[in-house]
Each structure stands twice: as C-alpha cells, then as structure tokens.
C-alpha cells in the first residue's frame, strides 16, 4: 500500500515538475519559433504555433545588419573576465571570513549584500562621469570592472557558504604538515570546493552575460555586448517581433548551450554544497 502511494506521489510530482518546466521554457520556445516566422505570421491572431512556412530570412537580415560576432566576443570577454577578476578577489575574502572570522564578519557580509539593494540607476551619473574621466567609456575593461563590482557580493557569499562546510581541521592538518597559506588555499581548499566554485563561476557568467543596464549605458559601438545587439531590434513604430526573436535566439543560444551541458554541475553546486 505504502509502495503504491509512493509510486502515485512520484507520478504526480513528475507531472507537476514537467508542467512547471514546460511553463518556464515556453517563452523561450515561443521566441525560437517566432524567429522562423515572417513579421505578419509573428503577429497573427490567433497565434500560429507550428503551422507556418519556416523561414531563415530573419537570421539572414540580422546577420547582414549587425556584427554578431563582435557583440558575441565582447559578451565572452566581459562575462568571463568579470567572473575571473571576481574570483581573484572573492576567494581570499571568503577564506578569511569562513576560517578566521572576526567580530564584524556577519555585518560585513550583510553590508556587501545591501549594496545589491541599491537601484543601479541611483549611481549611474557618478559612475558615468568617473568612466568619462578615466577614459573607460565604451571599453571592455570598464565593463569588466563594473560587472565585477556588481557581482562580487554574490561570489563572496556563495564561496563563503561553501567554504564554511569544509571542516577547519583539514586545513589545520595541512598547516601542521607545513603547508604555506597559498598552498593551503590552492592545494587543499580549492580542490575540495570545486563543485561550489564551478556553480559560482557558471552563475556569475550567466548573470554577467544577461546584465543589460550597465552594458547598455556604458557602451557605444566598440564594447557593446549581446544585450545591446538585442536592444537594436526593438522598435515602437513598425513590426519587429520576428527579427527581435531571431536576434534574441542568437544572443541566448551560447549561454543556453553552456547551461545545458553544465546543468548537473550547476544544480549539484547550488543544492548540495561543497563536500556532500
């Protein structure tokens, strides 16, 4: 009887999970389908799901109009660069907070998190003026710095959580065996925190890839990433849904594929912590 109930519950859970999954995925599927329609089919009422003449016209036009690969390369440099720079700062910070906490460690962590609560537009003008003075407007370096600062609280918090689950005794044993501080972090701590590090890196690359406020406001032509590429296809006057969908599909495809291949690592890192 208990077995039957369990099986039934599993079946219900599976169905519910599939329904939720499909609901979440549906907008992306609809975007992909719309990218293969004509503009007239894209606005048809009632909407056409699959029964339309598939066309690559939108992709061809997007490719003709925009330099996709330059935007793509900018996105790669900015998202990977900001994540790596963030790790360089966050690993020692998280180590210190996890293994040698001070009286104010929790306050510092909360303060860092509180910076995420400020609406970014509040500091747009000061940052814009600083960037202008430093010559960082429309540069990849400028965006790497800004996105690092924006995502740093999240990186530190995630690494701090993983590091806290690693028993301090292991590091102490390494120290007793003569490990230097650098050796302790590089050869003992980081290998044990690989799942957590991987999920932190992946999450931050995704966040930086999708960041639209700063990447639109601090770039013009040279450093504009894929967010600016998508923004160029929206229009208040004229039909643009099919072309915008094609541009969006091209912009999300790399990160979608990366997420697809790394989903096990991502989910494991996010749900089980560092050493479980």
């Amino acid at each position: 009887m208990a077995r039957k109930v369990t099986t039934q519950r599993m079946a219900v859970n599976t169905v519910v999970a599939w329904v939720i999954g499909l609901l979440i995925f549906f907008p992306i599927l609809w975007t992909i389908l719309t990218s293969f329609k004509t503009e007239a089919q894209a606005i048809a009422d009632p909407p056409i799901f699959l029964g339309f003449n598939w066309t690559f016209e939108n992709y061809i036009e997007v490719q003709e109009r925009s330099n996709y690969f330059r935007h793509f390369w900018n996105s790669v440099v900015i998202s990977v660069g900001s994540t790596l720079l963030g790790l360089v700062i966050a690993v020692p910070a998280a180590w210190a907070m996890a293994f040698v906490p001070g009286k104010r460690t929790k306050d510092v962590l909360m303060w860092m998190l509180s910076t995420k609560m400020l609406p970014p537009v509040g500091v747009l003008v000061p940052i814009y003026l600083m960037f202008r003075t430093l010559g960082l407007l429309d540069t990849k370096l400028g965006l790497v710095i800004v996105l690092t600062l924006i995502n740093l609280p999240i990186i530190i918090w995630m690494l701090y959580t993983y590091f806290r689950e690693i028993p301090g005794e292991i590091l102490e044993a390494a120290r007793m065996d003569g490990a230097t501080l650098r050796g302790e972090v590089v050869h003992v701590l980081l290998p044990m925190a690989v799942p957590g590090m991987a999920s932190t890196v992946l999450l931050n690359i995704i966040l930086a890839w999708n960041e639209a406020f700063w990447t639109l406001n601090l770039t013009a032509a040279k450093a504009a990433p894929l967010t600016a590429f998508i923004a160029s296809y929206s229009s208040p006057e004229g039909l643009f849904y099919a072309k915008l969908s094609a541009a969006s599909t091209m912009a999300i495809a790399p990160i979608l594929i990366m997420g697809w291949f790394s989903q096990k690592q991502l989910v494991r890192g996010l749900t089980f912590g560092a050493v479980k």
Binding site: E39, A40, R65, L124, V125, R132, L216, A220, A231, G238
Partner: protein, 434 residues
C-alpha cells in the same frame, strides 16, 4: 643579428604610426531602429565612397533606450557620439543649452530652404537650424474604404470628431472595432494622441502663466469623448495598445479606423504584411470646428553634439543623409515609395514620388496643418504640438498619461483622472520654479 632585429622593429613601429596617421576618421552615429534608418545604414557605401577619409560606426537602439542614452551622454559631455538621432522635442531644449552644433555652414547645394517650413520651424532656435530632419511625420485618419462603404458613409477629406464617432458606431460589428487609438501610457504614446486631440478641442496644457489647465471644460470634453469612443467602439484591452498593437490590429482587418502616425500608411498598404492593403483610405486628422486639427508633428533629426571632436566629418555625414541626392539614392535602390518622407518640399513636387506613394499628398497636408510655434486655439507659452518643449515634460507627460490610461482601463473616472492630472502637473511645475 640584434641590429637587424632592432631595425625591423623600428620599421614596423614607423609603419604602424604612418598607417595610423593615414587611417580614416571614424564617426559614431547613434540612431533609432526604424525602417528608414536601417535603409540608410545599408546605403552608407555611397557616403564612404564619396568621403574616403571617413568611416562610420553605428549604434542602433530602441527609441526610449536611445533617448536615455544620448541625453545622458550629451548632458555629461561624454563624447561617445558624433551624430545623434533626436526628436523634435529635444532640439529646442538642447539648442537652448548650447549642447548642439549649429548647422549654419552646410555644404554648397544642400538647399536648407527646401526643408518643409513646418518641420524646419521645430528645429530652429533664434533663427539658427540646429538639426537636420531625416524623416518627418504627422498623424492622420487611416480607414477601411470597404467598411465605410458598407456602413453607407463617405469619409470627407477633413472629417470632424462628430463624424468619426458616427462612423465608428456604424463600422463596429463582430470582431471589427470601429476605431483603434493609442491607450498605452506615456508622453510619446497616449499623450501624443490626446494632446493633439485636445488642441483641436480648444484645450491646452498651460495658460500663458504656466498654470496647468486640466480643470477646464475643454479637457473634460476631450477625455470624455476619447473614453466614449474607445469604450463603445474600440478593441478590448486598449489601455495597453500603442502604435505596434494598433498596427497589428489594423493589418489584420480588425479596425475600421485608426488615427496615428502618417508613417503607418506605408505599413498598412504593404501587401506583404497587411491583409487590407488595397482597402485603405486616408483623411486629415479630425477637428471640432475651432481652427485646429487633432494631428501632431514629429521628425527624427540628425544633430551634432557640441562635445564631438569630429564636427567636420559629422557635418559631411548629416549633409549626405538629409540631402535631396540621398532621396534619389534610396529611390534608385529601393523605389520611390521607400524614400524617407516629410522633410523636403521638392519631394512633394516629384511626380514619380507622388505616383509611387498614394499617401504622399495627405501626409504633406497633415504636416502643413500642424504649427509647433502656435499649436493651440488659445495662446500658450510653449513650443510643440503633441508635447511641451520643456525638460520637465517627459516626466509630467508620462504621469498624466498613466492617469488617462487608468481611466480607459476603468480604474478611475474621467473626472478623477483630470483632477489627479491637474494636481500632479501643478505640483511638478511649482517644484520646477515656473
């Protein structure tokens, strides 16, 4: 060996420096995503062939994003752009701040006098032209000739609001709505339409002392008639409809009439996208017999920010993109119907253009019927037909638009919406020191 290496390195460095000195000057152009601008990007080989020392870098953005981006850059002297695409609203404000380079010494043969007077008037401050129009538009009535005929009515060239109401009632049947109008909140969305409509009703945003005027009978009549039209003969959910939503409805044959930008004429008559392409007629925007029609005036213009260090190259580009020769280039490559409309008198004297664009005459009449310097029945202290050319207007216009959109959605009454509009406008104007 070492000497050879050094000599080689020096030669490379010298070569690089020489190449850098001889390389072309690059100007960055910020522009809006619409059909005419995209067409221009495709035709820039013509410009670079004629100006081999200048290369073009494009930044294309959605209208609202573009507006925020270029405003932020020009206000902080960021210097990111050498040419900016700006609207008729920005030109007088920015020119007054000395943020724009005057276009006084355009190349010989540019013929600035050929620019339509109504358009040039909105781009001129103290007698100086500060931006060159790339394309201009007004608003007009687009209607279904077949439905009008079936209703036993005939659309006059210059209809009144009373006729529009009568026609909307007669054309509403089944899933065809008699009239489609903007309802989405925003100073450039529902307030563009409602401000132009209010002008024809004798209403105005401010009196000559900058006092808000939403407590007047003229505004009450405007909003009441608009709500009557939309609630009785408009599509459901109209409070979230802007240009694109109404365009989609009209193209699918769901609207009997649509009053909106003249630029829509080329979309609704395009058989590739519109199911009613061969059934569309045009008329001037309606009036109330007070001497002003409910049409607006807008132009997308190319201007050079004062912070640009490449003003000569930028002027060369602006002159090329807004010249008579450019319209001929578009016609040769894409046909006369695709030439950017509404900027030059000579275009409307060109028979080939008039033959290719059945909406040309009505577009010109609509543009000429708008007067940004004198937009209302009673005198006003501001410039602008569907907007008030003061920096505070974007915020106030959108806030008032939200009140009127809420009235359309049935969340507040017309009276409440007007009272709220009056209160918030008065408060913001007092805060701004008017």
């Amino acid at each position: 060996m070492t000497l050879t290496l050094r000599a080689g390195l020096l030669a490379c460095a010298a070569g690089a420096l020489t190449a850098s000195a001889a390389s072309a000057e690059t100007i960055t152009i910020a522009t809006v995503n619409n059909g005419d601008m995209i067409r221009m990007q495709k035709l820039t080989d013509d410009f670079t062939a004629k100006n081999p020392g200048i290369e073009l870098e494009w930044v294309t953005l959605e209208e609202n994003v573009l507006r925020q981006r270029v405003t932020q850059d020009i206000a902080t002297n960021g210097g990111q752009f050498d040419v900016m695409t700006i609207g008729t609203y920005e030109v007088p404000i920015w020119a007054g701040q000395d943020w724009l380079v005057p276009l006084t010494d355009m190349p010989e043969g540019y013929d600035a006098d050929d620019i339509l007077p109504a358009i040039a008037g909105g781009l001129t401050t103290d007698g100086t032209l500060y931006a060159a129009p790339f394309y201009g538009e007004s608003s007009m009535v687009m209607y279904r000739k077949d439905l009008m005929e079936a209703a036993g009515l005939e659309m006059p060239d210059a209809p009144t609001w009373d006729f529009i109401k009568e026609a909307a009632a007669a054309m509403t049947e089944g899933d065809v709505y008699g009239i489609c109008l903007r309802g989405k909140a925003g100073w450039g969305e529902n307030m563009a339409f409602l401000t132009a409509m209010a002008n024809s009703y004798g209403a105005r945003w401010f009196d000559e002392e900058w006092n808000a005027q939403f407590d007047t009978p003229e505004w009450e009549a405007t909003l009441t008639d608009y709500l009557d039209l939309m609630n009785n003969y408009g599509p459901p959910g109209a409070s979230s409809n802007g240009f694109n939503e109404n365009l989609a409805l009209f193209q699918q044959g769901k609207c009997g009439m649509w009053i909106d930008a003249t630029v829509a004429a080329s979309f609704v008559t395009n058989p590739a996208d519109s199911t009613v392409a061969d059934k569309v007629g045009f008329a001037l925007a309606p009036d109330k017999g007070l001497g002003k029609r409910g049409n607006w005036l807008w132009a997308w213009n190319l201007a050079i920010p004062a912070g640009s260090e490449k003003t000569d190259a930028a002027k060369a580009f602006v002159a090329w993109a807004t010249s008579k020769e450019y319209t001929e280039l578009v016609a040769a490559n894409e046909g006369w119907a695709n030439v950017p409309p509404g900027t030059r008198t000579s275009l409307y004297e060109n028979q080939e253009y008039l033959d290719a664009a059945p909406f040309a005459e009505m577009t010109l009449e609509s543009i000429n019927a708008a007067d940004p310097q004198n937009p209302t029945v009673d005198p006003v202290p501001y410039v602008g037909v569907q907007f008030v050319a003061i920096p505070e207007f974007q915020g106030i216009g959108t806030a008032v638009g939200q009140q009127f959109s809420a009235a359309l959605a049935g969340q507040v009454t017309a009276q409440q919406a007007l009272e709220n509009a009056q209160t918030l406008t008065t408060r913001e104007m007092e805060r701004s020191g008017y």
